[in-house]
């Protein structure tokens, strides 16, 4: 090796070292939000994550039917397990908002609390209902009911309630408390959330670490399993639903896929190289372009600060395009006639053209609205450039000056375009293109990221069991009302509540029923006073008369009379601290850091959502800046719309840039057509395949589609250059080696269980599978036997 060669290696290795040092400080995030377009949806999901809905864990404890024959026997074991589980979770930093049981059961204390607050919780419509309870006939009937109730076996439990509320004003409020109904069908028992059949118990918790991160999820799952083992009574098992099992299922399936498929791909690639290049230097040929990965990661870190795991993985995969340049260079240097300088001069043009085309496609990807795509583009762009430069500098250093140059690689097309066979082959190719074009309009871009979710059968089964035990609600929307103070947030939530209750929304859950804003409370109190002043004399007279008739003493209902007269204090959030409502209010009234001020508050309202009632809600959101609608239905449509727009725009732009560049490079219609033929074949085959299988295109198809376009156009460039300029005659062999290695490397992923890896593998398999023979057969046919030199 000459001094010049050694200097080249030193320069490259220094660059790699510098890149490695920078890459070592890279922060890799595992945030699924990076897969979403910038803008409203991403902001919504960030809010959803911040308010803890993404990181909620629902733990369903169930009793073994063989060990616990009845619900009664299971009850004690379930409740002991839940108590111990709650204590174990509360004591750890990884969990917050743990709810193993409610602070108190629904008891007399609750009724006393609500009765005291009643005037502040009833609106005008409620007062009308109460007024109907004040007629002499209604009072008489109520006294009779009270008389019967107190003498029945239920009487002892109801005595205080009857004394405080003989006319059952509370029922008006209790009807409204349906707006606080829990998300699940639970039966409170000694404060525990039992299922209707009494054989299961629900424990809720929230993770303080992000559960969309697979590493966090694995750690948390290990911790939870260890806790379950320690705290659960014999015969009690725990099942979880929420983000956690989905993240775990995806990460485990990917690991399982890669463990087998990567091994298979490695063996097959080694065999391929052993049979094609038959030289140990093949390792260098394939390895040198990947040296570009480290400086590329360093540049990406410099620009973005951090990078998503997905962008990192796919970015490195895409920069593997540079391997093609390395292989072409190596094969030209080892198989073609002439000196090294001549060969390098001849291959410079196709390599430069191919590199420019690839780079232009990646530059277009930089314009994407999706953060992950942009990171991926920068990484791949820098990687391809470094890879090509490194290959150009280092590959000649491993090949002797006149080594193996006797190959007389014939560039002749296997068939001529004017021959019978040539016409048939062209006709077949045109048929493939026509079929692809015809199928394209029928393809649907599915932007729902859930199609890339590999929920294992166990996860789905657990979710079904959970729904059967705890009830299944239809699709819900979460609406966040934010404000710089609790008061402002409650005011916004109160207005929203009025809007949704008057517009027929169902399954509403709102904390404003229990905690109206201060203005509302003051207004209601004034209304209540007027109401009492107007009705009190007649009410007391009728009450005393009816009470006397049923033998009640004159002071039997004194607490009720006192409550009428004495105005209650305004309700504060902390008044519910020790009540049964505390956990619920804790999840619905949250600190919010997304606003301008520190200490902002967020009030959460949920409701059932359908296609019909989503639009009015979104219009309400448009008009009120403090309101944000968080709904899957909204995101699905928006994400799909944004991604479709993004991808269509980028694809069109990439197509224009590629066609323009190839046109500028070759300035000949037939040559340009020949260069683009592999790309057209790849796209047509992918279109046909997707139509024949699911009819859907997903994000993975499109990302890998970009890589396939980059590779295919390079095949066309190398083949057409060798044909036109009668140079680089080893091009076809090089194209075959590159295509075969791509097929082996990525194609095995078509056998993956994970939908994302499967889509990736299938895209490469079908795309390269079509582009390769097109480059070898169709491109030469199109360009014909012509030479420009």
């Amino acid at each position: 090796m000459t001094d010049k060669c050694i200097i080249r290696w030193i320069v490259v290795l220094l660059l790699v070292l510098a890149g490695g040092l920078s890459a070592a400080r890279l922060t890799i995030n595992d945030d699924a939000l990076d897969l979403l377009p910038d803008g409203a949806v991403r902001g919504d999901l960030q809010m959803l994550q911040q308010i803890g809905l993404v990181d909620r864990i629902f733990i369903s404890l169930s009793a073994d039917g063989q060990l616990y024959l009845s619900a009664d026997t299971a009850r004690d074991a379930l409740q002991k397990s839940a108590e111990a589980l709650g204590q174990a979770l509360v004591g750890r930093d990884d969990f917050t908002n743990v709810l193993a049981h409610l602070p108190v059961d629904l008891s007399g204390d609750l009724f006393t609390l609500l009765l005291h607050m009643l005037p502040l919780l009833l609106d005008e419509g409620d007062l009308e209902q109460i007024e109907r309870k004040l007629t002499p006939a209604a009072i008489k009937e109520a006294m009779r009911e009270n008389f019967l109730l107190l003498n029945s076996p239920v009487g002892m439990a109801m005595k205080e309630r009857v004394r405080h509320d003989p006319l059952d004003f509370l029922s008006v409020l209790l009807n409204k408390l349906a707006f606080l109904q829990a998300e699940f069908q639970v039966r409170p028992d000694a404060g525990f959330l039992m299922s209707r059949d009494g054989r299961s118990l629900l424990v809720l918790a929230e993770s303080t670490v992000s559960l969309t991160d697979s590493k966090n999820s694995e750690l948390l799952d290990d911790e939870l399993q260890a806790i379950f083992e320690t705290v659960l009574q014999p015969g009690i098992s725990a099942e979880m639903i929420g983000t956690l099992p989905h993240t775990l299922a995806n990460s485990r399936i990917i690991k399982k896929d890669l463990r087998f498929l990567l091994a298979a791909a490695t063996v097959m690639l080694t065999l391929l190289l052993a049979f094609t290049l038959r030289d140990i230097r093949a390792v260098v040929v394939f390895g040198v372009p990947f040296l570009g990965a480290l400086p590329a990661i360093g540049i990406t870190r410099f620009i973005f600060g951090e990078i998503g795991a997905l962008a990192l993985g796919f970015g490195i995969v895409i920069l593997g395009i540079a391997v093609d340049f390395s292989v072409h260079l190596y094969l030209a240097l080892t198989r073609e006639k002439g000196g090294r300088k001549k060969i390098l001069r001849e291959v410079r043009k196709p390599i430069l053209f191919a590199c420019l085309t690839t780079v232009s496609v990646l530059v277009v990807l930089l314009l994407s609205d999706v953060a992950s795509h942009r990171q991926m583009a920068v990484l791949a762009l820098a990687g391809v450039l470094f890879g090509v430069v490194f290959a150009w500098l280092l590959i000649p250093t491993i090949v002797g000056d006149r080594e193996g140059a006797a190959t007389d690689a014939s560039d002749a097309a296997p068939v001529e375009n004017h021959s019978h066979a040539g016409r048939w082959i062209l006709a077949m190719w045109l048929s493939l293109v026509a079929a692809g074009v015809l199928c394209w309009p029928h393809l649907h871009y599915n932007g729902d990221l859930a199609v890339l979710d590999a929920s294992a059968r166990e996860v789905v089964d657990v979710e079904k069991r959970f729904a059967a035990t705890w009830g299944e609600k239809g699709e819900q929307a979460f609406v966040a009302a934010t404000g710089t103070t609790t008061e402002k947030a409650l005011q916004a939530a109160g207005k929203l509540f009025t809007f949704i209750t008057t517009n027929g929304y169902t399954d509403i859950q709102s904390p404003v029923v229990l905690l109206p804003d201060r203005n509302t409370q003051e207004r209601r109190l004034a209304q209540w006073r007027k109401f009492v002043d107007r009705n009190q004399p007649e009410l007391l007279r009728a009450l005393n008369e009816s009470a006397d008739k049923y033998g009640f003493s004159s002071r039997a209902f004194q607490p009720f009379v006192d409550n009428l007269i004495v105005p209650p204090d305004l309700i504060r959030e902390q008044d519910y601290n020790q009540s049964v409502f505390a956990p619920l209010l804790g999840t619905m009234l949250r600190p919010w850091g997304g606003g301008d001020g520190v200490g902002s508050r967020l009030v959460l309202t949920t409701m059932g959502i359908t296609d019909d009632n989503l639009q009015p809600l979104l219009e309400y959101e448009e008009k009120h800046s403090s309101i944000t609608v968080l709904a899957n239905r909204k995101w699905r449509a928006e994400v799909e719309h944004f991604l479709k727009k993004d991808i269509l725009l980028l694809s069109s732009l990439a197509a224009v840039v590629v066609v323009l560049l190839v046109s500028l490079q070759f300035r000949d219609f037939r040559a340009v057509t020949a260069v683009l033929a592999p790309v057209v074949s790849a796209l047509s085959a992918m279109s046909l395949f997707c139509w024949a299988t699911s009819g859907d295109l997903n994000m993975m198809h499109l990302i890998m589609g970009i890589m396939v376009i980059g590779l295919s156009v390079d095949y066309g460039i190398f083949v057409v250059c060798s044909r036109l300029d009668r140079v680089a005659v080893s091009a076809k062999y090089a194209v075959s080696v590159c295509a075969a290695s791509s097929l082996v490397g990525f194609g095995v992923l078509a056998f993956a269980d994970h939908p994302a890896l499967y889509s990736l593998g299938v895209t490469v398999l079908v795309g390269i599978g079509a582009a390769w023979p097109t480059a070898l057969v169709i491109s030469p046919l199109i360009v014909g036997k012509r030479g420009r030199s």
Partner: protein, 230 residues
């Protein structure tokens, strides 16, 4: 206690403290010698009584009979007397019916139940959703089960001869409502003859049961419908 006694006696200046300690020690031993056997005997009586109750109640599959209830509540100027009929079928069905002075029925049937008066439609309740009814239903089940020994973790039991059981709640929460329940059993049938519930505030409920029909056939309708044609 011993210390206080010692001081009191020493103040009299008659006996020196050392001697006094020995005397008190002896007196304590003598007292314990009498009290422990008495307590042990009471416990044995109670256990035998509870075992007898359990045995009798295990033989009872259904029970029906009349009763009279007298309530003395502070909310009423005078005692209120109701007469009615009770029907019970193990494991979890109960019908509590008032006939006079007002018609009214309360039914517990497993996890559901209904309440009716002579006016208006029956009010059906689901004990899984109604905590008050669940609590009341649970209490009634507990009392009619006859397995009083099983209640001992929640209630202190005392036997008053010949056949009266005094039940006192242990938990402070329950003590807020109930001071004690006194159940007198008829002999030799060992069926409850009279129950007096003494509430914490001084209110009392006394229920006197008439001659019951034990293990007779009870119509399913009794636990499904408020009004039945006799």
């Amino acid at each position: 206690m011993g210390g206080l006694l010692l001081k009191a006696i020493s103040r009299c200046g008659k006996i020196r403290a050392e001697k006094m300690r020995r005397v008190i020690y002896c007196i304590t031993l003598v007292i314990l010698g009498f009290v422990f056997p008495a307590i042990a005997a009471q416990r044995a009586d109670l256990d035998a009584f509870l075992a007898g109750l359990r045995q009798h109640s295990a033989e009872v599959v259904s029970l029906a009979g009349p009763f009279t209830q007298e309530k003395r509540l502070a909310m009423f100027d005078r005692p209120v007397v109701f007469t009615g009929k009770l029907a019970m079928a193990r494991p979890n069905r109960l019908r509590w019916e008032f006939i006079d002075p007002v018609l009214s029925v309360l039914i517990f049937d497993g996890e559901t139940g209904m309440r009716c008066s002579d006016r208006g439609d029956p009010v059906v309740f689901d004990m899984t959703k109604d905590p008050v009814m669940r609590a009341v239903g649970g209490q009634l089940q507990l009392w009619i089960s006859g397995d009083f020994a099983a209640m001992e973790d929640r209630y202190a039991l005392r036997l008053e001869k010949p056949a009266t059981l005094v039940v006192t709640p242990v938990s402070e929460k329950e003590k807020e409502y109930i001071a004690s329940v006194v159940i007198t059993f008829a002999q030799p049938s060992m069926q409850p003859a009279e129950v007096t519930i003494n509430e914490a505030g001084g209110d009392t409920t006394r229920i006197v049961f008439g001659e019951p029909m034990v293990n007779g056939a009870l119509a399913d309708e009794l636990f499904r419908s408020c009004w039945i044609d006799d």
